[in-house]
């Protein structure tokens, strides 16, 4: 079989992965690896830390030092690695439920300290691993397996949360923006300080199916057709509404 150009950086022995057809996580790993290679960092010093959930499994597929930790605790685990050995380039790849709900406190405090970490927060609007329950990012009125009549809770605006907490670099892209996402990964990795890239990603199995975007392709088309690039704007106004526009771009890049 022909080798994939990124096979050297994946744990191919662990394939096939557990992600559903139409999931965006394959694209996320792909963009991350390309962005990482472009950064020219010494790969022996790059460490991936994940929490729990679908995205939490990313650590297990990337062939670098990688830690699959407890639910919500990827950021403080990463903090320990980085503080104890500043030579390490520590990257957290985890989901919105993991980083923003159960791990929300750790996220804002790491941003407040401006710890030199790179966080990729994959937002699919639900808890995928457990079957599509609503989460901290589920848009108001969106249907999930625990909000059959529509979510009644307001979601977090992740870039605004990170920026207000003191992050040095904040961007949002979707899995339909692979080149821009790849570039954002490189920038975030090379940024000294706390960097967060939110990656809006499809979950057709749960979120899409229950919100009139039945396939992964439907969700990708929605991302493509409804994303508006507004780099440099105050992320205060970039909250996401159900089936509404998605404002993407690089919002914060402090010197």
């Amino acid at each position: 079989m022909k080798k994939h150009p990124l096979d050297d950086y994946l744990r191919v022995a662990r394939m096939p992965h557990i992600w559903c057809p139409g999931c965006g996580l394959g694209l996320v790993v792909n963009c991350f690896l390309r962005g990482l290679l472009r950064s020219q960092l010494n790969l022996d010093k790059v460490v991936i830390v994940s929490g729990i959930g679908c995205t939490g499994r990313a650590a297990g597929y990337i062939n670098l030092d990688s830690f699959h930790t407890t639910h919500g605790r990827a950021v403080p685990f990463a903090t320990g690695l980085k503080v104890a050995n500043p030579e390490l380039e520590v990257v957290v790849i985890s989901g919105d439920g993991d980083l923003v709900a159960i791990g929300g406190n750790h996220l804002i405090h790491a941003a407040r300290r401006n710890t030199d970490l790179t966080v990729l927060c994959v937002n699919n609007f639900v808890y995928g691993m457990t079957g599509g329950q609503m989460g901290p990012t589920t848009p108001l009125t969106a249907r999930t397996t625990t909000s059959r009549g529509g979510s009644v809770d307001r979601p977090f605006n992740i870039p605004h949360l990170a920026a207000a907490s003191g992050a040095a670099y904040v961007a949002r892209w979707t899995t339909a923006h692979v080149r821009r996402l790849e570039k954002a990964v490189t920038e975030a990795l090379l940024k000294k300080g706390f960097s967060l890239v939110e990656i809006v990603s499809p979950c057709p199995t749960y979120y899409g199916r229950m919100n009139k975007q039945v396939t992964g392709l439907d969700q990708m088309k929605y991302f493509r057709d409804n994303s508006v690039i507004k780099s440099g704007i105050d992320p205060k106004g970039v909250g996401i509404e159900v089936n509404g526009p998605i404002v993407v771009g690089k919002f914060i890049d402090r010197g």
Partner: protein, 383 residues
């Protein structure tokens, strides 16, 4: 070398301060913590001392994060610790479990206070002894040490680091407010005289390294992050490569090894102190500050002609089953004073197997036992 790199000599220290110095002597260079009475003084001293020795102190947002950071720091190749009390210990249980599952060396100090819940923040207790053993979910074994003086808080903190590096797990130092806040003479020996164990490193190149393949003592050699081994470490049940393995067989193999690496090395791990147990008809079995109070009862009982011995558990977990079983065949009764409503007494009862009576002398917390209480229990037991 910074002037205060290593303190040797005689000092008048609190137990908490002695614990911090023990950590420094053991080579601990990372502390993550969250303020909590009566353990705060350990964090305060570490925040001052670590920068003097090239280490790092980080104050986390809670104990969930503290424990996670300690594990991360350990995988970065640093000896790492945290210190807390009951409410924080409860929060740490989650990542103590991750430390067990991922075989991460580190030290957790619990300066116990009265509980449950917020309980008696400033007053002493020993109510977390069973939580120390079973507090995180799932089957596992743990090591817990119980110091009876500030000197022992110094000594056992060093031993806790050595055991954690040797057996690759979080080792618990289970002290209490009474000892943590007690001031006494503490002798810190010259640095060369302390035996320090280092992490066993892999002897094979990265491509041949199986991160969770054990040596004959059931403990796998440990590579750190950033050394080129391309580790994968997960809290999921995993195989010897460290890869998730969701099978009954992998679970059986891993969990048995995690437990057996402690249980089969009990002879090395367990430390006891015995006084007059040889011909005793009654043995007081105690630990921490309660063992110290028991000493007074022992002396008075002997004055009354009672043949009483003291079995002090320096290692509480794993429990010294064999020695307690042996004594159960010899004595009429065990007397177990502890500052809770019966925790270690249950273990003594289990091992006594009905061969000797077990008399609990409970104290709900807030103070140490009056020696008379223990003495009276000894008198009754000797009858």
């Amino acid at each position: 070398m910074p002037e205060r790199e290593y303190l040797a000599g005689e000092f008048f220290l609190s137990g908490d301060d002695a614990c911090a110095e023990g950590a420094i002597s053991a080579g601990c260079r990372f502390f993550a913590g969250y303020p909590i009475t009566p353990a705060t003084e350990i964090a305060e001293r570490m925040s001052e001392r670590l920068p003097e020795v090239g280490g790092n102190y980080i104050q986390m947002e809670d104990e969930l994060g503290s424990m996670a950071a300690v594990l991360g720091a350990s995988w970065a190749g640093t000896k790492a610790m945290t210190a807390t009390s009951g409410p924080g210990f409860s929060l740490m249980m989650e990542n103590i479990g991750l430390g067990i599952m991922t075989e991460t060396p580190c030290v957790v100090v619990n300066i116990q206070r009265g509980g449950p819940s917020t309980g008696l923040p400033t007053l002493t207790g020993q109510g977390d002894m069973m939580q120390a053993r079973w507090g995180s979910h799932g089957p596992y074994s743990i090591i817990a040490l119980s110091p009876s003086s500030p000197q022992e808080l110094y000594d056992l903190t060093i031993r806790a680091f050595n055991l954690s590096e040797k057996y690759r797990l979080p080792v618990l130092v289970m002290s209490e407010a009474a000892t943590g806040h007690m001031y006494e003479k503490v002798v810190i020996p010259p640095s060369g005289e302390i035996e320090l164990l280092a992490r066993r490193k892999p002897t094979v190149p990265p491509e041949a390294y199986l991160p969770f393949a054990p040596d004959t003592d059931l403990v796998p050699p440990m590579a750190n992050a950033g050394e080129g081994y391309r580790l994968h470490v997960t809290g999921l049940t995993h195989d010897e490569r460290g890869y998730p393995a969701m099978t009954v067989e992998a679970q059986d193999r891993l969990v048995r090894r995690l437990v057996d690496k402690i249980e089969r090395n009990k002879a090395d791990i367990i430390a006891l102190e015995e006084d007059g147990t040889g011909d005793a008809e009654v043995v007081i079995c105690s630990y921490g500050v309660s063992a110290r109070v028991s000493q007074i009862a022992v002396e008075r009982a002997r004055g009354e002609g009672i043949r009483v011995g003291l079995l002090r558990l320096i290692t509480v977990w794993p429990f010294p089953d064999d020695r307690v079983r042996e004594l159960a065949r010899q004595v009429k009764a065990f007397v177990v004073p502890e500052i809770n409503y019966g925790q270690i007494a249950l273990e003594v009862e289990r091992c006594a197997c009905g061969l000797a009576k077990v008399v609990l002398v409970p104290h709900m917390g807030g103070r140490v036992h009056a020696p008379e209480l223990i003495l009276e229990a000894v008198r009754q037991a000797a009858r």
